[in-house]
């Protein structure tokens, strides 16, 4: 094809004017690189937050006693409310059709000792279903079962951080720790989960059977939270509603406000996705602006190029080039340099993103689709902004063009 034969020649000519060519695509290179970098960083951040939400459990709905407020970006349970009871958890599990299972829980910070070592950690009393609902696994040892729970046995599953802090590399299974002077046998160590949505270490914790915690440690009859697992993701909104109605009825609230707060993992995920979507929109508009500037760079340099190459244009016309041959040539050149700029930009952006995660500043997830879109976009941008210079070139009269200096 005529254009393809020509493109090789164009490439030689463009390559001979390295600086001019580079300058013309600088805007595109920087724009594309910025898009790839920011999208990769955004994806990294999103992935991390979504990961944290997922570590909470699967299809999880959390009921907390009292009102939970956001203070300085973190959730805080306000004043103690004594109305939430273990029987509420039972009732939710039994009576709500959209609920697969439910586990009651209560926690307090308490001193924990082993040998000479002593730390303060969060002691969580929890039904045995809690492990499954909250995706807590015990690669070493095993979680407590319903028997141990009902018998209020003094057994404990250590969080990863607690096990490390108290025992170092030693194996704690079968050993006895003291929680507020009460001896507990370590029967398992949970797999590490990292920080939660609030930035709290989920591994700095000790799990004990709910009944044991209520009777022997905290001496209370109420609980703080119910972890509810919906049958599936679709049922989670329904499960939330059923649990709310049931609790209002059981607590005889009539027209009083809720004495509990329900958090839905699906809603949390949706909010997070919503946020990253609006973030992406913001990024795209910034990117579009910078690429627009890049396009104007191409326009300017192509106009200069057409002016400087008038004699070449005249010559091509003299040896038989049609007007549209000249137009197509300059269009193709604009697309070519914009495309080359796009490739350079993607490379630069990916390198920057890799460097960022390599240096540990930020988790970046390379977004190849964003790179591809940026590339295609810059080629079309080059062509669009190349139209006017190309038309100018095509409209030159051969005689005039040949006379140009």
């Amino acid at each position: 094809m005529r254009i393809r034969r020509n493109l090789l020649l164009s490439w030689e000519i463009l390559a001979a004017h390295k600086l001019r060519t580079l300058l013309s695509v600088m805007g595109i290179i920087i724009g594309v690189a910025a898009v790839v970098l920011i999208v990769s960083m955004g994806r990294g951040a999103e992935e991390r937050i979504l990961g944290r939400i997922r570590t909470m459990g699967t299809n999880l709905v959390i009921v907390r006693a009292g009102q939970v407020r956001l203070i300085a970006g973190r959730q805080r349970q306000m004043n103690t409310v004594r109305t939430l009871l273990p029987s509420d958890a039972w009732a939710i599990a039994e009576e709500c059709p959209s609920v697969a299972s439910a586990a009651a829980a209560i926690d307090r910070n308490m001193p924990v000792k082993w040998g000479a070592g002593s730390i303060v950690t969060r002691v969580v009393g929890m039904n045995e279903e809690g492990f499954r609902i909250r995706n807590i696994t015990t690669p070493s040892g095993h979680p407590f079962d319903s028997q141990e729970e009902r018998a209020a046995r003094r057994v404990a599953v250590l969080g990863h951080t607690v096990a490390r802090d108290l025992f170092g590399d030693a194996d704690p299974l079968g050993l006895q720790v003291r929680i507020r002077r009460v001896p507990f046998e370590v029967i398992g160590v949970a797999a590490p989960k990292g920080v939660d949505v609030n930035g709290r270490d989920q591994d700095d914790v000790i799990f004990v059977p709910l009944r044991t915690a209520m009777r022997r440690l905290f001496n209370v009859t109420y609980i703080q939270a119910i972890y509810v697992q919906a049958r599936d993701a679709q049922a989670s909104k329904l499960a939330e509603e059923e649990a709310r109605n049931l609790l209002r009825q059981r607590h005889r609230l009539r027209d009083k406000p809720d004495d509990f707060t329900i958090q839905n993992q699906v809603t949390l995920l949706e909010t997070e996705r919503e946020m990253s979507r609006s973030m992406a929109l913001l990024i795209s508009s910034v990117a579009a602006t910078s690429l627009l500037v890049g396009g104007i760079g191409i326009l300017a340099v192509m106009l200069i190029s057409v002016r400087q190459r008038r004699r070449e244009i005249g010559l091509r016309r003299a040896v038989g080039a049609l007007r549209r041959d000249i137009r197509n040539q300059f269009l193709a050149e604009a697309g070519l340099i914009a495309g080359a700029g796009g490739v350079l930009g993607v490379t630069l952006g990916v390198c920057a993103a890799l460097a960022m995660s390599g240096l540990g500043y930020w988790e970046a997830v390379i977004s190849w689709p964003a790179g591809a879109v940026a590339f295609v976009f810059s080629v079309s941008l080059g062509m669009v902004f190349g139209i006017y210079p190309a038309m100018r070139a095509a409209h030159l009269e051969p005689i005039q063009a040949l006379r140009a200096e």
């Binding site: 005529r2 020509n6 030689e12 010559l315 091509r316 040896v319 005689i399 040949l402």
Partner: protein, 243 residues
């Protein structure tokens, strides 16, 4: 082959209109070698551009091989230039950053059908003008005479019936000029029509016929009784630096 009838060319319009060609008529038969002479500014280049279909007359008729050129549109003129005409410019007009071979191949890019042996043809054309060993050189690495010969090779690549040259020896020394004229003579012997614009009487006398242009009209049109022989003159030059 070429037939001009009362051709006029005016530049500008209205009060600034200047009539450069004022009714020019002549015929050139196929295989003729014609020189066009005249003082500077008399319209030689203007006339040659019209002959080469680069420009259209503003009056009169121009027939090229029975085609009425004046009535053709831009695309048709381009095709005509590509197929029938080889142009040699005074300023060479080579692509600076491109090797001789690619420069010579340029017209083929715009040919109706790109020949498979394009590169072979370009090499042959360059060899025929004595530049077989300069194929990979860029214009900046060639002497003026060599650049002009690359330009001639480019004009020949499409095997045109007509070769038009505007001051082809204007920028060359005597030896290089004679080499170019020797090539033109050979092209004529191959049966091509050659029209050369020059202000140099000695150059014009290599042609078989001289047209003298004066003030936009033809002052003389006379045959050359005994055209000069470039080969013989080259041979008689002292043998110092060749090329």
């Amino acid at each position: 082959m070429i037939e001009l009838e009362a051709v006029e060319k005016a530049y500008g319009s209205g009060s600034t209109e200047a009539l450069v060609l004022k009714g020019i008529s002549f015929r050139v038969e196929a295989g003729e070698y014609v020189a066009i002479m005249g003082a500077s500014g008399t319209g030689k280049t203007t006339l040659l551009n019209i002959l080469g279909c680069l420009d259209k007359p503003t009056g009169g008729h121009y027939r090229l091989e029975d085609t009425d050129v004046v009535s053709l549109d831009d695309d048709a003129l381009s095709h005509l230039r590509n197929r029938k005409i080889g142009f040699v410019f005074q300023m060479f007009h080579l692509l600076e950053r491109t090797k001789a071979l690619k420069n010579v191949m340029l017209p083929l890019i715009y040919a109706e059908e790109y020949p498979d042996d394009a590169e072979e043809r370009a090499k042959k054309a360059l060899t025929s003008v004595g530049l077989a060993d300069r194929i990979q050189y860029k214009p900046g690495e060639l002497s003026g005479g060599q650049q002009q010969r690359v330009a001639i090779a480019r004009a020949l690549i499409t095997d045109p019936a007509i070769v038009l040259a505007d001051e082809p020896t204007g920028n060359l020394d005597r030896r290089s000029g004679l080499e170019v004229l020797a090539i033109f003579r050979r092209l004529q012997q191959e049966g091509r029509t050659i029209i050369v614009v020059t202000h140099d009487q000695a150059v014009a006398e290599h042609a078989g016929r001289i047209l003298l242009l004066s003030d936009g009209a033809i002052a003389h049109d006379r045959p050359v009784a005994e055209p000069r022989d470039a080969e013989a003159e080259l041979a008689s030059l002292p043998k110092e630096d060749r090329r």
